[in-house]
């Protein structure tokens, strides 16, 4: 995303933040629709999980949720230090967040594997449909988000990056958003 | 038109373009010239009048030019109410449409730009009375059309759309469309669905005159639309859930059932037949058919095993 055209007006959100806000509103609608569909499908079933299906494992999913929250935390500090001019700390925290993100994806893959090993196949009815879909669709967004994450990581290593650049902050917003979506999904899929 | 350079090249381009346009229009008009149309109509009538099913069911409907604009004959007890609402809405909407058209034409003429005529600057100056005219007109539309439609919808829903008949007189039918036929099932003499004496037909729905018919529908494959234009009723058939409606037919005869919801290649000819019979004839038919079904019942034949427990949650 290129720099916005005008300098920042005296408003609460900068131009780029406004753009990201609108974009996040769109993504909110996307994930809301998916989660709502889950709830509607589930409402039609009298028993959930359906007879013969094991409920989703709690350990792996709780662990991955914690990891993604930590990852967001690291990003948050990174952006904070970047804003304070502490470039090196910013970079370290950013890379930590990135690494934790990778761990998250790894844990999600293990989680999916666990579902598979328990005999749950994708084409096996609504329970499988919704769980595989929500986890994988979210995971794909995370994987695509790695591209800007990596790019920012490189930029942070480059001393010519302007200290007023909004890119780290905006990218972190998207990352926080994805983390929030996972927390909600986790609560609805695993605990509800 | 565009200036004086290259007049000759221009005229040439213009001429070629006009030629193309003329050829295009000419082709369209000639392939649809009266003689071509008549010929098509003739061939097509020949093809369709050879349709055995049409002959067998004796469906004949000649219509005058004015009748062409109307739906086919209404045979249900509530059809005329829906027709009334449609016509009322159309007439009143036509009045407003006329007002709009007259306004457009009148304003175009009266307020056209001409020397000495200045427009009326309305900012801040518009009198309150001027602002009221559109609001009043809007209110008039709302009261005469919207409110009537809301009220009528409520009344119709309460009176007949969602007011299912109950009791021993009600003829119950299960309908299961599939690509691309209509399956019908009657409970037979024992008045229970899912037994040996159930009458199953393909594309052949028979009902007694004057008696309420309760229809439950579920599709076998894709969504179909159960549409009987003469009855003024329509309900989608959905795989996996049961939809329902009811009707009663007050005129003996043969009518067509259409599939109104796109369901694949032969959607356009997924035609069924509704036969409204005198009550005695219907009784006789259903008893005979029920006996025959029971006698011919083959437990190994899966094709007659469709159906569902009659869904009781009517309201």
């Amino acid at each position: 995303m290129g720099e916005a055209l005008a300098a920042q007006p005296n408003k609460r959100l900068t131009n780029a933040e406004l753009g990201m806000f609108v974009l996040l509103a769109s993504f909110t609608m996307l994930f809301s629709t998916l989660l709502l569909s889950y709830l509607l499908i589930r409402a039609r079933q009298s028993v959930w999980p359906p007879i013969g299906t094991e409920p989703l494992g709690k350990q792996l999913s709780t662990l991955s949720t914690l990891v993604v929250v930590l990852s967001s935390g690291a990003m948050h500090f990174s952006v904070k230090y970047f804003g304070e001019g502490l470039r090196k700390s910013a970079r370290h925290y950013w890379n930590a967040g990135l690494a934790l993100g990778l761990v998250f994806v790894g844990l999600q893959v293990m989680f999916l594997r666990q579902m598979w090993d328990q005999g749950l196949r994708v084409a096996k009815g609504p329970f499988a449909s919704i769980n595989y879909t929500l986890i994988i669709v979210h995971g794909l967004h995370v994987i695509v988000a790695f591209l800007p994450l990596l790019w920012i990581s490189r930029k942070l290593a480059n001393p010519s990056l302007s200290p007023t650049s909004e890119s780290p902050k905006l990218t972190s917003w998207f990352w926080h958003f994805l983390g929030l979506v996972w927390v909600l999904t986790y609560l609805l899929l695993v605990w509800y | 038109m565009w200036g004086n350079n290259n007049m000759i090249r221009h005229s040439l381009i213009k001429a070629i373009f006009r030629l193309v346009l003329a050829v295009g229009l000419g082709t369209s008009v000639s392939v649809m010239s009266p003689s071509a149309l008549a010929q098509t109509e003739e061939t097509f009538h020949k093809q369709n009048n050879n349709n055995d099913q049409v002959h067998a069911h004796g469906i004949v409907e000649t219509r005058s030019a004015l009748e062409s604009w109307a739906p086919p004959k209404s045979i249900s007890s509530y059809g005329h109410r829906l027709d009334w609402l449609f016509e009322y809405t159309s007439w009143v909407a036509a009045i407003f449409f006329l007002i709009m058209t007259v306004a457009l034409v009148y304003f175009s003429i009266r307020y056209r730009a001409r020397p000495g005529h200045k427009a009326y600057y309305t900012h801040g100056k518009a009198k309150a009375s001027e602002k009221w005219a559109p609001k009043l007109l809007d209110l008039a539309v709302f009261v005469s059309l919207d409110l009537v439609l809301i009220g009528s919808s409520y009344i119709h829903t309460r009176d007949f759309i969602w007011n299912y008949p109950a009791g021993p007189e009600v003829v119950r039918v299960q309908v299961m469309p599939q690509q691309w036929v209509w399956n019908f099932r009657y409970p037979g003499k024992d008045d229970t669905f899912g037994t040996e004496d159930d009458i199953t037909t393909i594309n052949d729905m028979r009902v007694p005159k004057g008696k309420p018919v309760m229809v439950q529908i579920m599709s076998r494959d894709v969504i179909h639309g159960f549409f009987i234009s003469n009855v003024r009723a329509q309900m989608d058939a959905i795989p996996g859930s049961i939809t329902k409606f009811w009707f009663d037919a007050n005129t003996v005869g043969d009518y067509e059932i259409a599939c109104a919801h796109l369901c694949g290649t032969a959607h356009y000819k997924m035609k069924g037949f509704l036969k409204v019979m005198e009550e005695t004839d219907f009784k006789r038919w259903s008893e005979e058919a029920s006996d025959w079904s029971k006698a011919a019942f083959d437990p190994a034949d899966p094709s007659v095993k469709w159906g569902w427990n009659w869904a009781l949650n009517q309201k």
């Binding site: 995303m1 290129g2 629709t33 | 071509a36 409907e61 219509r63 086919p72 309305t122 709302f142």
Partner: protein, 600 residues
């Protein structure tokens, strides 16, 4: 005149007067190569033209498909003329039923997503927004360019899907399961369709982010919300609806795609899924129409705004009830989210739901009526100039009035049960959506042509184009409503299989003739467009004598748009002011003591 300039756009206050070139630090540099000028350009004006050509091309494809559809209905069993034998050798040139289903599917898809949206939103929005608000470009130029190329990718996929084995998607543009599932629509055609629409939605969302942010942030100093031309209100509201509801479609299409490709059972019901537990085809309909209903408003809102402006511009009179119109359009945008159930009245919804949707849908006629009557109020006591854009605007008023009134029949559940899935619906939505948006689109093209190319399109040809399009269009869709009321249901290859529809052959033939005339008339437009670019009469900066900001700069517009970012002192419809006697319009950036507002 002193204002606190919180943007950097008015640099010359610091750097001195003159050309902007030394304070364009925020503008992309002037493109020099062919590729950066015409292909991968950041310039909103170039991107607008790209969307226009893209939309006109697909519009032509979609229109050709509609000609083929009407051919089947007018001349059943006859080989399609000229190219029939080429396309359908195995059936002697007669269009087969399978292909017919693909035709109306692709026609609907193409017209909505690849013709109307690129023109009325992609072209109109991109071209007019920065110019009307006094900005040099959109807030996010790279995102803007990306949105075009994503559209191109989407179009390429759709085009490709036409030629795959088993043919293109043939399940209706609404793509309902379970017909859209692999068991009943196998082959890659529909899956490609799903991915193509996914991309198209993405492109629109990217555009929406831009439009919303730009209108909020890049308005020139002094341009309050109430100084925005109503076109921008339309585009702004449309973008909000796009941003919020396209993702709902995306989700629905995604779930359908996963059903098709991976065997999930979101929309597959118990009786046919192996798993034995319930998916729900109706869930899809809910998801689709939660998007689908706002979508029709998305396509028409810019047209409403445009027509509101044009009626004012060419009646030389302020827009009657500007505030009420803006509020009405906003109210309709909000209401559009809660009326979608009127597309589902035949699916067995409960009486509570049907009453609710009937009532809410009918409530929309209140704000619709207000802005519609404001249109008439704008014409009233005006000084009307029948320019070609004005003809199209007035034509749109007519078609929308007619189409809108027929929406009443469909809104009420009672009459809806008669008319659902008949040609009455087809006539209704074509009048309100296709005819109205199309007429407005043409109006916009004739209107902005001088600003794009510095020349005028030929007026006489424009008039011919208008009447030869408008009159047949009204006839076609009115007659379709007649056919629908007579019982003719839709998406049928040969309605004459039904005895009670046979008498409609004549009517369908007359409609076919009108379609041929309307289709041919578009050739007049194409000719006018391409030839006038070089041969049209020179327009000058303000051929329409208007005050909105795009007419204060030269024609064609320079790539930097404005020499100096203007300061706005007046509204967009300051016509025939009694105190201004030498001309009948006031420029938005012109300060007149006693008339203009003072804040910057």
């Amino acid at each position: 005149m002193s204002t606190i300039d919180t943007t950097h756009n008015n640099h010359d206050a610091h750097h001195g007067q003159g050309l902007f070139s030394h304070h364009d630090d925020h503008l992309h540099p002037e493109p020099t190569s062919f590729w950066t000028k015409y292909v991968f350009s950041y310039d909103h004006k170039v991107i607008a033209k790209q969307f226009l050509i893209f939309g006109l091309f697909w519009g032509f494809v979609g229109a050709l498909m509609s000609v083929m559809i009407r051919w089947c209905l007018a001349m059943p069993g006859q080989p399609f003329p000229l190219i029939g034998n080429l396309l359908f050798p195995s059936s002697n040139g007669v269009i087969p039923p399978d292909f017919y289903n693909a035709l109306f599917t692709m026609h609907g898809t193409i017209m909505i997503f690849f013709a109307l949206t690129p023109i009325i939103i992609g072209f109109l929005g991109n071209y007019s927004i920065p110019l009307m608000i006094g900005a040099r470009d959109m807030l996010f130029p790279w995102l803007n360019m990306a949105s075009f190329w994503v559209s191109v990718a989407s179009g390429a996929l759709l085009m490709y899907s036409i030629f795959v084995p088993m043919g293109p998607s043939a399940v209706g543009w609404t793509s309902y399961p379970t017909l859209a599932h692999s068991q009943w629509s196998n082959g890659p055609g529909h899956s490609l369709w799903l991915v193509s629409l996914f991309l198209a939605g993405t492109a629109s969302i990217m555009g929406a982010v831009n439009y919303i942010s730009t209108i909020i942030r890049l308005r020139a100093p002094g341009m309050r919300w109430r100084d925005l031309p109503l076109t921008l209100w339309g585009l702004f509201l449309t973008s909000i609806l796009n941003a919020l509801f396209l993702p709902v479609l995306t989700a629905g299409l995604l779930l359908l795609l996963i059903d098709r490709e991976f065997g999930t059972t979101f929309f597959l019901a118990a009786s046919i899924s192996e798993a034995g537990t319930q998916g729900d085809p109706i869930l899809y309909q809910h998801l689709f129409w939660i998007f689908g209903h706002p979508e029709v408003y998305i396509v028409i809102l810019p047209a409403w705004g445009l027509v509101s402006d044009f009626l004012s511009f060419f009646s030389r009179k302020p827009a009657f009830g500007y505030k009420a119109t803006a509020i009405s359009m906003t109210a309709i945008s909000i209401l559009s989210a809660v009326v979608y159930g009127h597309h589902m009245f035949t699916t067995g919804l409960s009486p509570l739901l049907t009453s609710a949707f009937t009532t809410l849908t009918l409530l929309i006629s209140i704000p619709s009526g207000i802005f519609f009557l404001n249109w008439l109020g704008t014409l009233w006591r005006g000084s009307i100039h029948f320019t070609v854009p004005m003809l199209f605007a007035m034509g749109m008023v007519f078609t929308f009035g007619l189409g809108g009134l027929t929406g009443l029949h469909l809104a009420a559940v009672s009459t809806n049960l008669l008319l659902h899935n008949t040609y009455f619906v087809v006539g209704h939505f074509h009048l309100t959506m296709a005819a109205s948006s199309l007429l407005a689109s043409y109006g916009a093209i004739y209107f902005y042509f001088p600003k794009m190319y510095g020349r005028m399109m030929n007026t006489r040809l424009g008039q011919i184009h208008f009447w030869a399009s408008f009159l047949p269009i009204v006839y076609i869709f009115m007659m379709m409503m007649v056919a629908g009321y007579a019982g003719m249901h839709r998406r049928i290859y040969n309605p004459y299989e039904y005895n009670y529809l046979q008498h409609l052959l004549r009517l369908n033939q007359y409609i076919g003739i009108a379609v041929a005339i309307a289709f041919s008339a578009q050739l007049v437009f194409v000719y006018n467009y391409f030839v006038s670019r070089k041969k049209g009469s020179v327009s000058g900066p303000n051929p329409w004598y208007l005050g909105t900001l795009e007419w204060t700069i030269p024609s064609p517009a320079p790539y930097y748009n404005f020499d100096k970012i203007p300061t706005v002192y007046n509204g967009p419809h300051e016509f025939s002011h009694p105190k201004v006697t030498d001309r009948d319009f006031i420029r938005q950036d012109e300060y007149i003591e006693g008339i203009s507002h003072k804040n910057g």
